[in-house]
Symmetry: D2
Amino acid sequence: MKNAAIFGASGYTGAEAVRLLLSHPNIRIKALSANRHADEDYGDVFANFAGQDLPRTQAIDDIDLLDIDVVFSCLPHSTGQAAIAKALGHVDTVIDVSADFRLSDPALFEQVYGAPHSQPQFLKDRVYGLTEFARDSLLGARLVACPGCFPTCALLALLPGVQAGAFTQSTLIIDAKTGVTGAGRKATLGLHFSEVSDGAHAYAIGNHRHAPEMEQELSRYGYASPISFTPHLVPMNRGMIATCYVELSGDTSVNQLRALYADRYTNDPFVHVLAEGDIPQTRHVRGSNQARIAVCADRVLGRAIIISVIDNLTKGSSGQAIQNYNLTQGWDETLGLETTALFP
Amino acid sequence: MKNAAIFGASGYTGAEAVRLLLSHPNIRIKALSANRHADEDYGDVFANFAGQDLPRTQAIDDIDLLDIDVVFSCLPHSTGQAAIAKALGHVDTVIDVSADFRLSDPALFEQVYGAPHSQPQFLKDRVYGLTEFARDSLLGARLVACPGCFPTCALLALLPGVQAGAFTQSTLIIDAKTGVTGAGRKATLGLHFSEVSDGAHAYAIGNHRHAPEMEQELSRYGYASPISFTPHLVPMNRGMIATCYVELSGDTSVNQLRALYADRYTNDPFVHVLAEGDIPQTRHVRGSNQARIAVCADRVLGRAIIISVIDNLTKGSSGQAIQNYNLTQGWDETLGLETTALFP
Amino acid sequence: MKNAAIFGASGYTGAEAVRLLLSHPNIRIKALSANRHADEDYGDVFANFAGQDLPRTQAIDDIDLLDIDVVFSCLPHSTGQAAIAKALGHVDTVIDVSADFRLSDPALFEQVYGAPHSQPQFLKDRVYGLTEFARDSLLGARLVACPGCFPTCALLALLPGVQAGAFTQSTLIIDAKTGVTGAGRKATLGLHFSEVSDGAHAYAIGNHRHAPEMEQELSRYGYASPISFTPHLVPMNRGMIATCYVELSGDTSVNQLRALYADRYTNDPFVHVLAEGDIPQTRHVRGSNQARIAVCADRVLGRAIIISVIDNLTKGSSGQAIQNYNLTQGWDETLGLETTALFP
Amino acid sequence: MKNAAIFGASGYTGAEAVRLLLSHPNIRIKALSANRHADEDYGDVFANFAGQDLPRTQAIDDIDLLDIDVVFSCLPHSTGQAAIAKALGHVDTVIDVSADFRLSDPALFEQVYGAPHSQPQFLKDRVYGLTEFARDSLLGARLVACPGCFPTCALLALLPGVQAGAFTQSTLIIDAKTGVTGAGRKATLGLHFSEVSDGAHAYAIGNHRHAPEMEQELSRYGYASPISFTPHLVPMNRGMIATCYVELSGDTSVNQLRALYADRYTNDPFVHVLAEGDIPQTRHVRGSNQARIAVCADRVLGRAIIISVIDNLTKGSSGQAIQNYNLTQGWDETLGLETTALFP
């Protein structure tokens, strides 16, 4: 049994880590940090955990790291760098769900997140944990930066084609839709029920922070151009769609592309490439670690539409974090993640 | 005062026509057809009208057309062609909200809608009623084919740029999101609350019937290529977004493009081009006839993202129908349509 | 034309007043107060008003009251007493939507709202504006205290029976359900979309502030006992249900009770007593000033269930406020309120 | 390992049984019946199960009962009586989730459900499976009739007080709120997203079929009067609230009542009595087998309000079914039911 601490347990990604870890056979939750809610019963922070046998919340500095094997850090970006650096001096593994270690270039981090990185020495060796493309690096990794929810969703839809050289450069467009939990558990007017329900809208057009992250990864696999990326907020709790518009290079057909994807993910327990004609829905992966991908013909010859759906809190965040930790330990990656999606 | 009949008053677009016409100063509702609900109090068909002074529903053939000046036909596509042809023999004006007279080419109609058109003789002279681009033809028009909701939303976002030659060919991508009323008032499993709420999904990828309609109109204004078009179903009652990805031709800047749009729509009471940085939300046009358009810079140089939102039942359907009828009569186009959007 | 100022125009009830007044034939909106949003375009405070011809927001003290005939005060309770007192020195009429002048006993006000009333001199002569029971007092009234949303909904369901002595004492139970706008436009965690959507809960059990208000009014009409009242929060924007459980006194039958209600409200344009077997839904009064009431037999002999639905922002707040103002002026009470409910 | 068949696997309660059984350590799903969807991949019936290792659906008569240990029957009421009778000839245990065996009096069944019971011989010995009140009878039981969702929710809130004689007769009122899945997976207009979302309403006032069932059980424990019961439909997928209004007998205080409840349920793993001041929310039990109960003081002296929330598909249906089966086998009742609620 490994002992886990969750940093930032008062947010939605923290709570999702707790929910999933409670059914993990090899992990025991030993500490929950929540600076603004320190020393509370966790069931008072999130009522769905009332009655569960969980430690009380602590200030992050009060956690006894000697007792901890793994930290799942679910802090808001830019707030956990020092705590993670400190933790790396005591625990075997840190799985960071925030944006802090995703960008390998500290200058780019500063440009995108508006403040210098305080621990750039860890950026070179951290593993970027898009699990299905990081398996070789995960075993034994000490610091894993989990991808953002949009990058997870879009990269799963794009990387097999990019790797195969199936797409032309400079043509990629990603139109994404996300549920409201993606914005976190903040008391802001923009997240008020009546300001968000029964309607939809785009946001952060042309300047969302996940775009440089996607470009970083796409370029590692051979797509070197900037991308169009537009997220939209949809009145649902969980769920994310990336609708990716690609131009096919050479004479790749859509059926060949679908076969390539099916083949690429054939051994991946959480990624399902749908049969021709099937279209994934976010509600069918609600609460599960699955990604579902459809490769579809466009009306425009020579183009394809690739659609990927995930639960932004699970595969898009804390589920993938656990999947990554499982692999750092050489365990079956599905441990703690076998749950069927909750539908309806 | 003109006397109006609404064909197909038991559907959502029919009910929207009734709602709006009730506050129209120059129109009196004289007949409501509802074949499956014939001879009912309209307040039993739609409870929000209970207590209103409205005629009982009738079978369409029982309506006395001698008494009618204008028919608003809100029948499902392919079911109203004969009734409209018959009505044109008696009434001054037919405003058709269905798809039946939108495509000018009967062969294309048959291909897209799966059955031959029974009244192709009317296709040549009907007016395609995207109001802001049809004013010159509307005065005195006898048959107006109102655009589909997606075409209305997307064409308003695209035509000014297309007319100005601002976009390159073969690059247009339209990613759309719609509320559930767009699918009509059908008792199907796919529209069951629990199958639609708290989630989102794409549908009709690459083969939605509104794509040929958009291509028909785009080509009239100078964009001759097929388009990528992907609609998504979002858990909201009303509302539609068209997120349009365009490549700018020549050296048009995004700011120039925005200015061009603002100029183009400056005299249009229902189309608002937002200032730089503002992003429209569907909930802010709920129940109103407005379209709101944002012209945004993309991350990719030389590209722009144009976002348009409407209420699919109002500007996307029965609101535009009334706007069109107002113009056939030479009236102020805002009559009956002055309502502020209902928010929240 | 009368000139209106809206105090507290940055909240939902303020915005609802603006929305309705925009279509009022006899009222011109001259001033909008919004202390925290002073000197803004109102379309930036509520985007659904973008493009409307409305005054910019002002700090409340900057409004020139000499120019104003009527103030609609939509301020949070306890914050508007002084401003209303000042306004009464300049304008003809103040219609207060807040709780500040509803309780006629200043000691009870202090007990319920936790602070002494600063202007108790106005409590004696203010009119409690449950319109259908206040007509005789409204003509010429200078200060009208509009009932709370729950009192409006429940009292309409109860007062005809109470007046007729149809209910036994000490048996009244009111179980209410409200949409989220009832809680106001506050950025709090409890109103975050994901904390409110896809679920329901009771709140303020046994101690909601509207209970003493209901008791005050019930006792004026002959029901002198305390009441059971439990509100529940439901994931909808607008709408309210009061499900009222009553014990019938003497040998009143449910059918007689229903007939009594139908008779009582027969001349009330906004109150509809449904036929036996019909059940009202909140969505069918969305955005309208209607109340719909069903008088139903219970399983338990000698009991009845009376159900009332309203839109909490319209009949439950700013709609009733305008209805009241219309009557202070001797106008038709429906002016500005003829809108059909927006469904779906 | 026990082999299970699920009858009626194409409905929501059937799917919930499958979801939960997939994580049950002692049960293997061997057969899924779905007459209208026979011979389909279960992932085509419910997409959230795509990729799971599950048997294809069968017509109910094609299931080889020799292979089955336990049947979970999730058929609509009145449709499964013969199939259950047949199954009882072959399998050890039948857990019926429908209404068919809940009422012990066949005459009452016929009156309530409108058709005679075809297998009344089983009514006498079936166990009514409100688990927390049926433990003594469950071990070895062959036919368990699981309570309806409303009876489960309300009886858990009422029976401890009834057993203790804490409530006066003839005063009980139950006001309930349910999510839409409670109405089943039927393609009807009344369940259309736009007819159900963003609003609420009561239904089946005074005549809901679960009322006689509640009265049957209440009378077994000492409350012999008819009850007032009014359900309301709320726009949420899962979740149910029973708000119960009781008059306290003798000099029982609310605090004593709460202590009595806490004591009664102290050993029940799925029933949580909340501390004074806490109020349960349905979203915090979403997808879990928990019931949460608050015992609250009313404004009216001598009365209390007891609020119970469950997930109607889990504790209100298939979760309780599995809990019951666990106890028929002498297993820990939490097997397969340990999941934390999914929030948000």
